[in-house]
């Protein structure tokens, strides 16, 4: 993205130069500066209770820096960093067990603010209309107290909370609407809530399969990976892929995984939806009408314990391996066909990848 901006700027500058041959400084948007301008952040969740979450940065030039939050800011990030989101020049790190969001400049990683009231077991974040929307499980044993916190981005304070069904997990903004997947907590979720940011109320609820644990939007459609009810539940179910038409928020189609399969993760790159089943990575063309029979590849060749973080981006597949969950985790970077290109030793339990460009 950054590269595109540069090219555009250069192109615009060139146009100006030919027309009035003045210097281009006046009209080029100043490029962001900082140590973390182009590359990928890795959220390392680390150990629940130990307060040792960290952020790693892997630059486009191939330089890895671990523990950047503490090294820039002089204090530890907190306990069990769950996820991260970008809005304008800022990055928001959701720190689950610390019940807070650390707000930093996304280019320098310098601390800007901490949101530490109004959050209770926060999970994921999305942005729209000058506000952030954060899913909160609250008390995991209480199925009635889950909510989406609304943060005013100008003041970094929680200004409202929207009561939702149990277990709100992934959240994303698409077409100016906020979509919340209810993975479930104590029980098992089966819905997507749609929040209208103009009213901060739920505008509709979309029924999907059991345990929608991942979703991604593309070309007016929402792809929802439903993991199915787990083996220890009273009635185990196999996973499903739901496709929702965002024009009217109705289910367009769904695909059932045959047998008893529990898929997770969802990431779209180059017209293909990538998802995982245990250690195997599958790709399904968005134009396909059946689920793929065989995986593209499996991470077991790397001796990976499993897939803890997952993302398809920049024609690559990124896998976070938590190893034993109590030592430096690994990140494996593959081509879209599964050729291992790079291995990184990052923080403990890498759970997500966020691209800063």
């Amino acid at each position: 993205m950054k590269l595109n901006k540069l090219i555009l700027s250069a192109f615009a500058g060139a146009l100006f130069l030919t027309s009035c041959s003045s210097d281009d400084d006046a009209i080029t948007e100043p490029a962001p500066t900082g140590d973390y301008v182009n590359g990928m952040f890795i959220v390392n969740e680390a150990n629940y209770g130990a307060g040792n979450s960290t952020i790693s940065f892997y630059s486009e030039e191939g330089v890895l820096s671990n523990g950047i939050f503490a090294s820039v800011n002089g204090f530890d990030l907190g306990d069990t960093a769950q996820s991260m989101g970008f809005n304008d020049d800022l990055a928001y790190i959701v720190v689950n067990y610390s019940n807070k969001i650390e707000v930093v400049n996304r280019y320098t990683f310098e601390s800007v603010a901490t949101v530490d009231t109004g959050l209770d077991n926060p999970r994921y974040i999305a942005f729209e209309n000058g506000k952030a929307y954060v899913t909160n499980w609250a008390d995991p044993t209480d199925t009635e107290d889950d909510y989406v916190a609304v943060i005013d981005l100008s003041s970094n304070t929680v200004i409202a909370s929207i009561a939702v069904a149990e277990g709100p997990e992934n959240i994303l903004e698409e077409n100016d609407m906020i979509y919340v997947a209810h993975k479930g907590g104590y029980g098992y979720g089966t819905t997507i809530s749609v929040i209208d940011p103009s009213t901060d109320a739920i505008s509709t609820t979309i029924p999907v399969g059991d345990v929608p644990n991942a979703m991604e939007a593309e070309n007016g459609k929402l792809y929802v990976i439903c993991g199915g009810a787990p083996s220890w539940s009273s009635a185990e179910t196999s996973g499903e892929l739901y496709v929702v038409n965002l024009a009217d928020n109705t289910v367009e189609t769904s695909y059932a995984f045959s047998g008893m399969v529990h898929p997770s993760n969802a990431s779209i790159e180059n017209g293909t939806l990538y998802y995982t089943v245990d250690a195997a990575i599958y790709g399904m063309s968005l134009t396909a009408t059946t689920l793929p029979e065989t995986p593209i590849f499996s991470v077991t060749e790397q001796g990976a314990y499993g897939i803890y973080g997952f993302k398809a981006e920049n024609n690559k597949i990124y896998v976070g391996d938590a190893v034993d969950y109590n030592s430096a985790g690994n990140v494996y970077i593959y081509s879209l066909t599964g050729d291992l290109q790079q291995t990184l030793s990052v923080g403990i339990s890498p759970n997500g990848f966020y691209f800063n460009n």
């Binding site: 610390s98 008390d139 083996s231 077991t300 897939i307 109590n326």
Partner: protein, 610 residues
Amino acid sequence: MIMALRKLGYIFLLLLCQYVCAQTDSITQLKEVVISDTQLKDFSKSQQVWQLNDSIINRSPSSLGALLNYNTVIYFKENGLGMVSSPSFRGTNAQQTAVIWNGININSQLNGQTDFNIINTRDFDEVSVRAGGGSVIYGSSAIGGSIHLNNELRFKDTFDNTLFLSYGSYNTQGLNYKLNVANKKFSSSFAVSRNSSDNDYEYPSGIINENGQYYNTSLNASFGYKLNEKNILRLYSYFYDGDRHFSRTVSAPSLSKYKDYNTRNLLEWMGIYGKFTSKLKAAYLTENYKYYARYTNDNYTFGEVKTYIGRYDLAYQVTDNIKLNTLLNYTVNKGKGSDIDNKNREIASGSLLLQHSVTPKLQYEAGVRKEITNAYESPLLFSLGGSYQVASFYTVKLNASRNFRIPTYNDLYWQGSGNPNLNPETSYQGELGNEFRVKNIKLTVTGYYIRMHDMLRWVPGSDNIWRPENVDKAKTYGIESVLNWDKKLGNHHFTIDATYAYTVSQRDGSTNQLIYVPFHKATAAVGYSYKGLGFYYRHLYNGKVYYTSDNVSQVDAYNVSTIGAEYQFKFLGGLTVGAQVRNLWAEEYENVRARPLPGRNYTMYLNFKF
């Protein structure tokens, strides 16, 4: 005579000793009839047994974990003051140390370990530590060693009351009342403890240790009745009811709470028939926990196990120098919980023990044990050891054994991740103990090696679900030494008691130290008394521990000290008043990552016998 001896001994200990070691054989014969766990004396001669006496118990915090942490080689991992405390004895884990209450193994059936902060030491007459393997006698978990909590019952005219009260910083209150009533036919002992604390100390960063408050009540009652000269009935009962909030960390608040409710009952019929001593025992134990993710509502998860034990213990004195002992045991566990499948488990076991004093200086002992159960494959266990007094000042002890730790309810039956096909963890281990006694000095230096097989570890599967598997092999070895010195010059009494442990503990395929096992740990206690006045200083050095398995992150080493003074008024049976400054040097330290322990704090206590 016994009483007089005991009283004399008691005063002697009160004034002098921080720490005494196992009784000599002549006293053992007397003691044999007063506690149920006779194997601790009769079949532990090739290993180290350390008994913690009353004076050290009275000068320590009420929890078993704190007592042992400051006075033995055992390392404790404590999740904040008063929170869950788990031992690492000789580099093993918490499930490889057994806690034995009046001869009965009371480690949790659910998680296989004992939380050392939910045992109140003052409920017992005798707290002993037996280092090294003991599964042949005590069953599961006696790998690193075992902790023995015994109640004594003596048939002598007695009417003794003891009241202990303490008050300290953070509104920490302790109460213990003991009553012993006995005559020649009947003996009873009754103890009740109540402990509570706001536990709201300040972290070095200024954060308050929120949600750390706790209270607990425990009750221990023992009754003995002599049917005749040959038959004695004994009943032991123990109740523990605790309510602990789990405190916050430096980086995360907490609203969670944990309730423990445990009961233990043991009925024993002992008969002495010539050279045979027969003990028929029936025990009923219950354990129950409730975990509240938020104390602010009534939602909780729970686990509960009821355990029924039948045991027959037959000892045969073959000759004056040879003892044989068979132990037949049948245990039924009935477990249920919000996260475990309801399961019953039955375990039958038989042990045969032999002890032979070849000469007054040379003895050996041997034992075997086999279990039969439907829950797992059980290995044949053994123990073989001996001791030899090489010179008047030097005794050498050797012991080798195979021990085990059985899979727990959580391991086997946790919903969605329990693994019903587990085997017990097993160990082969050996130790060489050296005891030196010169005048007032006793020094023991013991080297040990433990080889662990089939170690259970919860490993995440490719589906990111954690399941226990018998995956690991590990070795742990080290040296532990204990030094005791006392000197009496007129009315001046000096004591020094010190321990040091060097421990290496590694999983196969790695040279990294296992997490939360320090390489070095040392304790030292110095006491001085003059007539009724006593001063004492004790110090703990806890070496660094790693908290990540790659040994990249560590909790730093720390030094923490307590200084105290007490005075005994000669009033009725004796009224002792004392005060302590804990963490004298105001060390800022953590025992577990992100959980600072208190700075300098104060305690006063009163111990009244009447």
